[in-house]
């Protein structure tokens, strides 16, 4: 049992010390020392450095100067000193603008300064699991001192960024911290269920530092009412539940800590837990049990369009595929970008970052390139599955250290350098070797899964049953299993039938994770049916909720426009019924040539929509619906256009420093509806990226958006850089705060008030 100290802020307030707490280490060293001495009943005291990092602190002293003074002050207690590390106060990408690497560097700086003068680190009050990952990695890579890490939770038992205690434990345990848990947030009573959840899911010592109850506000100040007796009562409860480290947070005082110090050194009940095989994103944990579907569509093997998208670095295509699989019910997603002649490490980590911006599902990082795997696992916000190792020692020696360092789960293929063995027994032997080798690296069984490998029935018909039998054997090792199911049907007709039948055979034999196409309704149906028939889906609840309307199939539901029927393409666009646009465009092409369809139907209809919009008869959502329908129609018609008849390219970006991109997105869909090809650089786009896009695409126009007065500077800078690159594209600017005068002032070519005007000006340039 270890006792930490209590609140610092309230003690400063009591002594009338205001100002930046970190600076008080220098300006009021004696007072700070006195507070630390008052806490000397604790086993470990923490420095007054919560806000001290290069991103949050911009005061008059150097970080090194404050850090050293703070440690010296804490030493006055005569106890062990842990350096207090708090969050940066900025939001990480993709929701924010701070990069993972920059957060990492800020914490690495702290570690470098303090590694030889402290006894350990207390990383506390974090609310973003991604940020705490950056912090723990930085500390671990620059110091060998113990790290205790705690996050804050709200009454829904989630962090601000949506992580559960189980996800927090999975990530922090994976990173190898020495104690993990919760601090601040709530009082001891409210934090108790969260402590119990930690104790149930991790073997790492659990640390709990609650506030002094829930405060009430009085004249704008927080007043804490919980008594010392109550705090002692709860601390005792924590200890008997198995919590190993206790202390206090906001509102607790030296007297609280003196009272609980009687528990110091007491033996803590062990809390060995039964681990399942778990992977997670920041907000979604997948425990691999029963059957969990891994979406296979983000793998370029045999997929021409995806391969081309990866080659040209079109991450949007990957994101759309990821969203589709999530919506179809996949539990996790395989991600592979391994194609010749690209920088796989760069492409894989870029894909991971982009996909985790939109999709909550955990990711299976699929690569044979060690550098690519490590970069992707590092940048991943959560605990991923690595695909894969096999029985080849060299491969295992490359991948296991990465898995160990980040706590990732590893998929092992039951084959080795000699190839795939024929019999189930031989595959089992390799699986066993993989599990043992992992153990030698300190990777427990629950972090390993085995793929018993599917061979195609057309080439190796007699071996299909060996794969299935191997599943049975491998499960005896106590590991979960996976299969790339659809390989079985390669080279045979009606592949779907074989895939579905094989999937059912495999699930019956203990397959936990089919890697398959979740957009295939029959395959997903087989998984759901298996759930009912094997008594996994209790009361067939999930099955029923999926199929309750099965006898009354309705037309494809498209949000907001499901009930509209339209007779022709013109009306379809005018009314914005995207779901019917492709079919009606095909119909139109039966009787007219592509250019006529574009000029006489698409553009005419859009023009009417534009007039209605300008006249206030129709509003933004309808305009956008129409544009989306026209865009869908254009995709169909565009394929029939003679070469050279395509419209020009436009590059769009929301400028550096700004992440408000809805206006830019509206412009994008409207331009596309008129047939322009849009290269969308996204939001918060660095100046350099815009210039590079100009040089790469030589577009007709570059459209820049900024919503805030504060980001017009970023716009101006971008234009300056484009001019310096002798940009010949027309530069358009727009956004809530932009006016024609501002546009002129910052040297743009055009200001357009809305998306339709943008199109009008573009059309007039091209005429």
């Amino acid at each position: 049992m270890i006792i930490f100290d209590g609140g610092m802020g309230s003690e400063l307030e009591k002594r009338g010390l205001t100002g930046i707490p970190e600076e008080l280490n220098i300006t009021h060293a004696e007072e700070i020392k006195a507070i630390h001495r008052a806490y000397s009943a604790a086993d470990i005291v923490t420095t007054a450095t919560f806000g001290l990092n290069g991103i949050k602190y911009h005061g008059k002293y150097g970080i090194k100067e404050i850090a050293e003074a703070a440690v010296e002050n804490a030493r006055a207690s005569g106890k062990k000193v842990f350096f207090d590390v708090g969050p940066t106060g900025a939001m990480l990408k993709p929701m924010g603008t701070l990069t993972f690497d920059r957060a990492y560097e800020a914490y690495a700086e702290i570690a470098e300064i303090t590694k030889d003068i402290v006894d350990g680190y207390i990383v506390e009050t974090f609310s973003d699991v991604y940020e705490i990952k950056a912090c723990v990695l930085a500390l671990k890579e620059h110091s060998d001192k113990p790290i205790f890490a705690t996050m804050t939770f709200d009454s829904s038992a989630r962090t601000l960024t949506g992580s559960t205690p189980e996800i927090v434990a999975l990530v922090l345990e994976g990173l190898g911290v020495d104690a993990l848990g919760a601090n601040c947030s709530l009082g001891p009573r409210e934090l108790f269920p969260i402590a119990e959840r930690f104790l149930a899911c991790t073997d790492v010592p659990v640390i709990i530092q609650p506030n002094r109850g829930l405060p009430r506000m009085e004249n704008g100040r927080s007043i804490y009412d919980l008594t010392e007796d109550e705090f002692v009562y709860w601390t005792k409860k924590y200890i008997s539940a198995g919590v190993s480290v206790v202390g206090g947070c906001c509102g607790t005082t030296p007297e609280f800590i003196r009272r609980i110090s009687e528990f110091s050194g007491r033996k803590v009940k062990s809390h060995k837990t039964q681990h399942g095989t778990s992977i997670c994103s920041a907000t979604k944990q997948v425990v691999v049990e029963n059957v969990k579907v891994c979406g296979e569509r983000l793998n370029p093997t045999g997929k021409k369009k995806l391969k081309e998208a990866v080659e040209r670095g079109d991450m949007d295509y990957l994101v759309d595929e990821a969203i589709k699989q999530q919506e179809a019910g996949a539990d996790l997603l395989d991600l592979n970008v391994g194609i010749p002649k690209i920088d796989e490490a760069q492409a894989l980590s870029a894909a991971v970052e982009k996909i985790q911006e939109y999709v909550d599902l955990p990711i299976q990082i699929d690569s044979s390139d060690k550098t690519a795997i490590e970069r992707a696992v590092r940048i991943y916000n959560g605990v991923p599955l690595i695909n894969s190792v096999n029985g080849d020692d060299d491969v295992m020696d490359r991948v296991f250290p990465i898995a160990k360092k980040y706590g990732a789960v590893v998929l092992g293929l039951a084959m080795d350098e000699r190839g795939v063995p024929k019999t189930a027994k031989e595959r089992y032997a390799i699986a066993k070797k993989i599990v043992e080798r992992a153990a030698a690296y300190g990777i427990p069984k629950h972090k390993i899964m085995i793929d018993t490998l599917v061979l195609t029935a057309s080439a190796e018909q007699s071996l299909v049953k060996e794969t299935v039998e191997a599943l049975r054997l491998v499960r005896r090792l106590g590991v979960k299993t996976a299969l790339g199911v659809s390989n079985v049907s390669f080279g045979l007709p009606n592949r779907g039938l074989l895939n579905k039948t094989f999937l059912t055979m495999a699930m019956t034999s203990g397959l936990n994770m089919p890697i398959m196409n979740p957009l295939d309704g029959e395959m997903m149906g087989a998984v759901k049916a298996f759930g009912v028939l094997s008594n996994i889906d209790g009361n067939a609840e999930e099955y029923i909720s999926t199929y309750k309307d099965y006898n009354a199939p309705t037309a494809a539901v498209v949000t907001g426009s499901a009930d509209k029927t339209v007779a022709n393409l013109y009306d379809c666009i005018k009314k914005g019924v995207r779901s019917q646009a492709a079919a009606l465009a095909e119909k139109e092409l039966e009787t007219s040539d592509p250019m006529t369809v574009i000029n006489e139907v698409l553009i005419k209809s859009l023009e009417e929509v534009g007039r209605l919009f300008d006249g206030g008869k129709l509003f933004l959502p309808q305009l956008v619906s129409s544009a989306e329908a026209a865009k869908t129609a254009f995709e169909v018609v565009g394929k029939r256009l003679p070469k050279g008849a395509e419209k020009a390219t436009v590059v769009l970006a929301t400028v550096k420093g700004d992440v408000h991109d809805i206006g830019k997105n509206i412009v994008k869909v409207v331009l596309e509806s008129y047939g322009y090809k849009v290269i969308d650089l996204g939001k918060d786009v660095p100046v350099r990226t815009v210039v590079e896009a100009y040089e790469k695409y030589r577009p007709l126009a570059i459209g820049l958006s900024a919503l805030m007065t504060t980001t017009v500077g970023g716009m101006e800078e971008t234009i300056k850089a484009l001019r310096a690159a002798n940009c010949t594209s027309k530069i358009f600017v727009g956004g809530a705060v932009i006016t024609a005068d501002i546009a002129k002032e910052i040297d743009a070519d055009y200001y357009t008030e809305n998306a339709l005007e943008f199109v009008k000006v573009l059309d007039s340039i091209t005429k």
Binding site: M91, M95, G96, G220, E628, V659
Partner: protein, 199 residues
């Protein structure tokens, strides 16, 4: 749904029966995914940055001021981003509904401050500098809400607000002093951006 909520949404999106179904659908989703949080601090005397125009005029005759920060959380931002890829029209409606919903929840939360108070004045109104949000963030320290300030000076999550409320004087929103007054699209249609119908 309150009529004020709907009139705010109409003010952003235009009033059309065609989108009513979509608006209801979006509001329902927002109500289940948003994680509304509100942090505030009370001051007997206005902090330094409020001792100039237009704040000093706004606070004239009050006997205290509440600074507040509120948000729908990052889940809402994320959903808008996903919708921008799968259904742009819905994304536009969702975005507008989220803004109106945040205003609505903030109004409801603020009922606890009693009736004798001003409306919530946000930096950027009436010619004030939107960058002043940073003073509110510094003073309220809204860490528990998850609201942060970017280097460019705006708040994240995007669906967040920072407000100033004067205590001891009742005022309601008007267009007086608005920088957009001369060329306001809402006013031309007889509407107000803040949704009230008759002012």
């Amino acid at each position: 749904m309150s009529s004020l909520l709907k009139s705010r949404i109409y003010a952003y999106l235009g009033e059309s029966g065609e989108t009513d179904g979509l608006i209801d659908e979006c509001l329902e989703e927002i109500a289940s995914t948003a994680r509304f949080r509100y942090a505030y601090k009370t001051f007997a005397e206005p902090p330094e940055f409020l001792r100039r125009e237009p704040y000093s005029k706004f606070l004239e005759g009050t006997r205290g001021v509440i600074l507040s920060v509120m948000t729908l959380g990052r889940e809402t931002d994320k959903r808008i981003g996903v919708l921008a890829r799968t259904d742009m029209a819905k994304s536009v409606v969702y975005d507008a509904c989220a803004s109106a919903y945040l205003e609505q929840l903030a109004d409801e939360y603020e009922e606890r401050f009693g009736e004798d108070r001003t409306y919530r004045f946000c930096p950027g109104y009436g010619g004030s500098d939107i960058k002043d949000v940073k003073y509110i963030i510094e003073l309220v320290k809204p860490e528990a809400t998850g609201v942060t300030l970017t280097e460019s000076g705006y708040m994240l999550p995007l669906k967040s607000m920072a407000g100033i409320i004067g205590i001891g004087k009742k005022t309601e929103k008007t267009c007086a002093g608005c920088a957009q007054l001369a060329h306001c699209n809402y006013r031309q249609e007889g509407k107000r951006c803040y949704g009230s119908e008759n002012k």
